[in-house]
């Protein structure tokens, strides 16, 4: 049995080394980002890797006020809360139908929806822009919400479908006998039953919308309407900003994902495996 013990210890050691290395590849750039965000541009040039000699919060003030990140945060809150309500209703409703009801072409329609899930924003971008212009939805938060929900719903629908498919059907049957119509069934029965998965798709949806870039770039062209990701992506991509300010912007925009992650880790992990791993 001596061999077994050593191999176990070996495995543990290898595991630790790998995880530490992996953690470092994330944490080291992040660490440098934090210390850089507290330096002036002058200090960053002369002291790139050391701790800041004099801590300054100017970079944060710059990106929050002049860089408008504070304004973008407000925009994001409006966009995401509006988008999320619509997204949940649409995914839960469609998931209910696909998962629990029998109707002609059920599987074909569902597969069609899943087929559309793969296309990147850029495949449809030119036409989405044209349609949005025709409906006067350029520079409109409402327009972006509709496009976001259209783009992200297929995945949420798929997760809700697989979840609802595992719910026993007699619950709906008995509600139907009691005379509940379809909206009542959805609101009173399916949504409460689906609550854990709705929480999961809400976290996934929030992160997806928070991190979305292409559609925001196309539809929100007025600077004061932009989203946070759009703001920081444009700072780095098109207009080179001084490095310390860019890192401050990264710090600010990492806050929401990190907070969500700390509090809703369980749901994020659930979403990661839901709908994809099936034995």
């Amino acid at each position: 049995m001596r061999f077994k013990i050593t191999s176990k210890t070996m495995t543990k050691t290898v595991m630790y080394i790998i995880l530490v290395l992996f953690a470092l590849t994330t944490l080291v750039p992040f660490y440098f980002s934090i210390i850089t965000s507290l330096k002036t541009s002058g200090e960053y040039a002369s002291n790139t890797t050391g701790l800041p000699a004099a801590v300054t919060l100017d970079n944060f003030r710059m990106v929050l006020i002049q860089g408008r990140l504070l304004k973008y945060l407000v925009n994001n809150i409006i966009l995401i809360s509006g988008g999320l309500v619509l997204y949940i209703i649409i995914c839960a409703a469609a998931g209910f139908a696909f998962g629990k009801l029998n109707f002609p072409f059920r599987l074909q329609i569902l597969l069609g929806v899943l087929f559309l899930m793969i296309f990147p924003q850029m495949v449809v971008s030119v036409q989405v822009y044209r349609i949005a212009a025709a409906f006067k939805l350029i520079n409109s938060h409402f327009g972006l919400i509709l496009v976001w929900v259209a783009y992200f719903s297929p995945f949420g629908t798929y997760i809700m479908t697989t979840y609802f498919a595992s719910v026993p059907k007699d619950i709906i049957e008995s509600a139907r006998i009691d005379g509940a119509n379809v909206t009542q069934q959805l609101v009173r029965i399916m949504i409460p039953i689906g609550a854990p998965m709705i929480a999961t798709i809400s976290v996934i949806g929030t992160l997806a919308m928070w991190n979305e870039l292409p559609f925001s770039l196309l539809l929100l062209q007025k600077p004061n309407l932009r989203t946070m990701m759009q703001g920081i992506a444009m700072m780095s991509g098109e207009h080179g900003l001084p490095v310390p300010q860019m890192t401050a912007a990264v710090m600010v925009s990492s806050m929401l994902p990190l907070i969500l992650f700390l509090f809703f880790q369980k749901y994020i992990a659930m979403g990661a495996t839901a709908g994809s791993v099936k034995g």
């Binding site: 176990k8 595991m15 793969i118 850029m122 449809v124 139907r176 379809v182 990492s254």
Partner: protein, 295 residues
């Protein structure tokens, strides 16, 4: 009600009510755009006014466009990283499976890049890896000037850095969680039987673990294809902005620059048709996998 309803009628109507919001939104913002894009790829259109029919001109332009060649070549290079994008998380999870059972701290660490998203990761690494950035400064101060190459500043290395970071590194955490979940459902008797037969670690990996999670592996490979063709825009935008030169252009990035920076929307649509075809093939494979899972 005069008409005698069949029991299925009500269910059909209910289903229609429930799925129509989704189908309406999808038709307007995804399905119709995919189809009308094909028409616009045969036109010259600057994003306003009428589109002018130009036949195959955009496609002829594609064939001789360096930017297009560059985008295809770069995509091909990124695809070459897929085998490692599979093997690295697969091996790591096979190692972790031995001792890792619901170890949430590890999961959290592994998950971090995923949560931050590609734009934040792109900016983080663009700062960290630039020629005068922290990594090269550290390498130089350690006397390792040979290693302090201009990672994303030279056309030769930039796309490979994207390959390593985007295709392999950024997905290690998610891959491990994904494969560990799949491995947790393998019947432990299979392992016991293999051990009784005297099978070593590698043999168990190839004869028990991998065959048992073949399905998850196939899904993962399809996912990596999707990531390369259809999910790299944000990372490229924030990390290299397609540069230096066209050395990290992809099809997605090309559509953005041509359509929305150069206002060649007709020509950009032709790029989008090419991207659409690639994605349709991948989607076909994914649907086949999902159908097999449903059975």
């Amino acid at each position: 009600m005069a008409r005698i309803r069949k029991p299925g009628d009500r269910e059909n109507l209910d289903a229609l009510i429930l799925i129509s919001p989704l189908l309406i939104l999808l038709s307007i913002f995804i399905l119709y755009p995919v189809l009308s894009n094909i028409y616009y790829s045969f036109t010259k259109w600057r994003g306003f006014g009428a589109a002018e029919w130009v036949g195959l001109k955009n496609y002829r332009m594609l064939i001789s466009d360096n930017k297009f060649h560059s985008a295809l070549k770069n995509t091909a290079i990124l695809l070459l990283y897929i085998p490692l994008g599979l093997l690295v998380p697969l091996l790591l999870s096979a190692i972790m499976r031995e001792g890792l059972k619901g170890w949430s701290v590890f999961k959290a660490i592994l998950y971090l890049p995923n949560v931050l998203g590609y734009i934040i990761l792109g900016i983080l690494f663009s700062v960290f890896l630039r020629n005068s950035g922290p990594l090269n400064t550290l390498l130089r101060s350690a006397g390792l000037d040979v290693l302090a190459i201009n990672w994303i500043g030279t056309t030769k290395s930039a796309i490979h850095v994207v390959g390593v970071l985007f295709v392999i590194w950024s997905k290690i955490g998610f891959g491990c969680i994904y494969f560990l979940a799949a491995m947790s459902s393998i019947d432990t008797q299979l392992y016991d039987a293999a051990r009784v037969d005297g099978a070593g670690w590698w043999r168990i990996l190839f004869q028990v673990t991998i065959p048992s999670i073949r399905f998850a592996i196939e899904f993962w490979v399809v996912l990596l294809f999707i990531e390369v063709f259809a999910r790299a825009f944000g990372f490229i935008f924030a990390f290299t902005y397609g540069g230096p030169g066209f050395s990290t252009w992809t099809l997605e990035f090309g559509i953005y620059i041509l359509g929305f920076k150069n206002y060649q929307m007709g020509y950009g649509s032709a790029w989008a048709v090419v991207l659409f075809l690639f994605c349709a093939v991948i989607a076909y494979f994914q649907i086949r996998l999902i159908r097999r899972a449903e059975k």
